[in-house]
Amino acid sequence: MPDTLPGSLRAYLHGLPGVDEVGVRRRAADLATRSVKTRAKRSAIDLAIRMVDLTTLEGADTPGKVRALAAKAVRPDPADPTAPSVAALCVYPDMVATAARALAGTGVGLASVATGFPAGRTSLEVKLSDTRAAVAAGATEIDMVIDRGAFLAGDYRKVFDEIVAVKESCGDAHLKVILETGELVTYDNVRRASWLALRAGADFIKTSTGKVAPAATLPVTLVMLEAVRDYRAATGRQVGVKPAGGIRTTKDAIRYLVLVKEIAGDDWLDPAWFRLGASTLLNDLLMQRTKLTTGHYSGPDYYTID
């Protein structure tokens, strides 16, 4: 349910405390040095695999590629049945029907980007019909992009109303709101956009589309984790966080898990509340997993390219 915000949205968002940029960077860098080894590493890798939103968002996506990726989402390591399934498969709206058939009955979620991804430069009607079509085709999660142009221009009401409208047209599907932090420029803006999305009814807030550099970074994710933590403390509603883009190695993924535990708390250490949007990350997680099992380093030749 969207909150009814008293008075001006601008006054509210600009009334949020500013982010200590140096402090956030320092804290993220500090937490990134933590060493996770042996048994802890093993369970961190399995948790990270369960949190992956296996993503393919390319103009060149074919039904065959989506089906192959769906098979990989269900059974990431064909050689090792103990490797868990990923959380969800993330595709463009026109590929949802194909993916839904491939994932039927597997328990793996199906996320679709919508609302004119990645730029979001279409009319509200198009965004809403985009969303409805994806949900009708079988998407259980919708990844929407916010209107960064309106946000940067200060038209917070437009952004807010758009999220509310998309949330309504989602029906039962979970709504992930992509802030595209790489275009928001400052940490203060990230905090404002996070609270805006939280107040508008997002089920998840997501860092990036993966099409803009920089994509997900540790400090940005830290600011967003603080927002969901404080939001739950204030309202009692828990919202998830999804960093996406640029997370390629197991080491990166474990750093994010450390951040989740230290900033948001253990409640968020679950695929229902934290996701990693990635494509190449999964192979590295599987390689590290194999290394822990066999004692030998594995190579990319032993895993699928996509």
Binding site: H296, Y297, G299, P300, D301
Partner: protein
């Protein structure tokens, strides 16, 4: 006039060479290197299995670019390495002399540089010698061509710190392979100097990676690594059998340690051929 204070020596840090950079070991460790008579020569980085992993990743990344260059270009770059070695002749000689004496050191350095030029020359001649047109019974044109195997793990000989080192590294990379080399444990300093020559000679980053440390510690992760395609066990010593078994689990090509005579000025293709694969193509005549 006041006394000029004695100049403070600028000591050299001996580091690893991985992916075109000179990192310290990931583990932060180092070990003292001494001459045959026990004089302390310096501290070399003591690489760990994670350095092996990083080096293999760097070598893998460099492979498509290096093997995709024309053989002629590879030869030119390797010749450039010999030029850079020539410029560091005194440094090499001083380091090699710790083991063999000054007089012999200069001869060894000359042989090492000549050996590098020798293998540089082979780069664009392998195709003609090892490949060629095959006569077949049918209207087809059939050609075989040698192709590099991929990432090669090389254990440099323990005894010959420069000539032996060059004699195992150059034949691996001249054909387009990329290499992860574990230097002589007892005398690693010439390998570090060679790495500095490689870094200044247009050789793309990651084509040759040089690790210093304990062979017993580094060889096993290298032999077991699934992303290493071939293994040169020249410097393995007693470890060779165990390493061969490890290498077999991922079907690596293995060059067993032999009784190598590094002084032979014309070693031929005996160290090049083991790290090549042959591609044969059938082509209809008339197209």
């Amino acid at each position: 006039m006041a006394d000029i204070p004695p100049r403070i020596a600028v000591r050299r840090t001996y580091k690893l060479y991985v992916g075109g950079a000179f990192p310290r070991s990931e583990s932060g460790r180092s070990y003292p290197v001494t001459s045959a008579s026990g004089v302390h020569l310096g501290n070399a980085a003591l690489a760990s299995r994670k350095d092996v992993r990083d080096a293999v990743a760097a070598a893998r990344k460099a492979f498509p670019g290096w093997s995709g260059r024309t053989a002629y270009n590879r030869g030119q770059i390797l010749y450039r390495v010999a030029e850079m070695m020539e410029g560091r002749r005194e440094q090499f000689a001083a380091e090699v002399a710790e083991g063999v004496g000054k007089a012999k050191a200069h001869t060894l350095v000359s042989s090492a540089i000549d050996r590098w030029v020798y293998y540089a020359g082979w780069a664009d001649k392998l195709g003609q010698v090892l490949g060629g047109a095959n006569p077949v019974s049918g209207p087809y044109f059939n050609v075989s061509e040698p192709e590099p195997t991929g990432v090669v793990g090389v254990l440099a000989p323990g005894g010959s710190s420069l000539l032996g080192l060059v004699s195992v590294l150059a034949p691996v990379i001249t054909s387009g392979n990329t290499a992860v080399l574990v230097a002589s444990e007892r005398a690693p300093l010439p390998a570090v100097t060679l790495a500095e020559a490689l870094a200044t000679s247009d050789l793309p980053a990651g084509v040759a990676n040089v690790l210093t440390g304990r062979v017993a510690e580094l060889a096993a992760p290298l032999a077991g690594h699934a992303d290493v395609n071939a293994l040169d066990l020249t410097g393995a010593g007693d470890l060779a059998t165990g390493l061969e078994e490890l290498a077999a689990t991922t079907l690596k090509r293995v060059l067993r340690p032999g009784h190598d005579d590094w002084s032979d000025p014309d070693p031929g293709l005996s160290r090049v051929r083991p790290f090549l694969e042959t591609k044969t193509v059938w082509h209809p005549i008339g197209l």
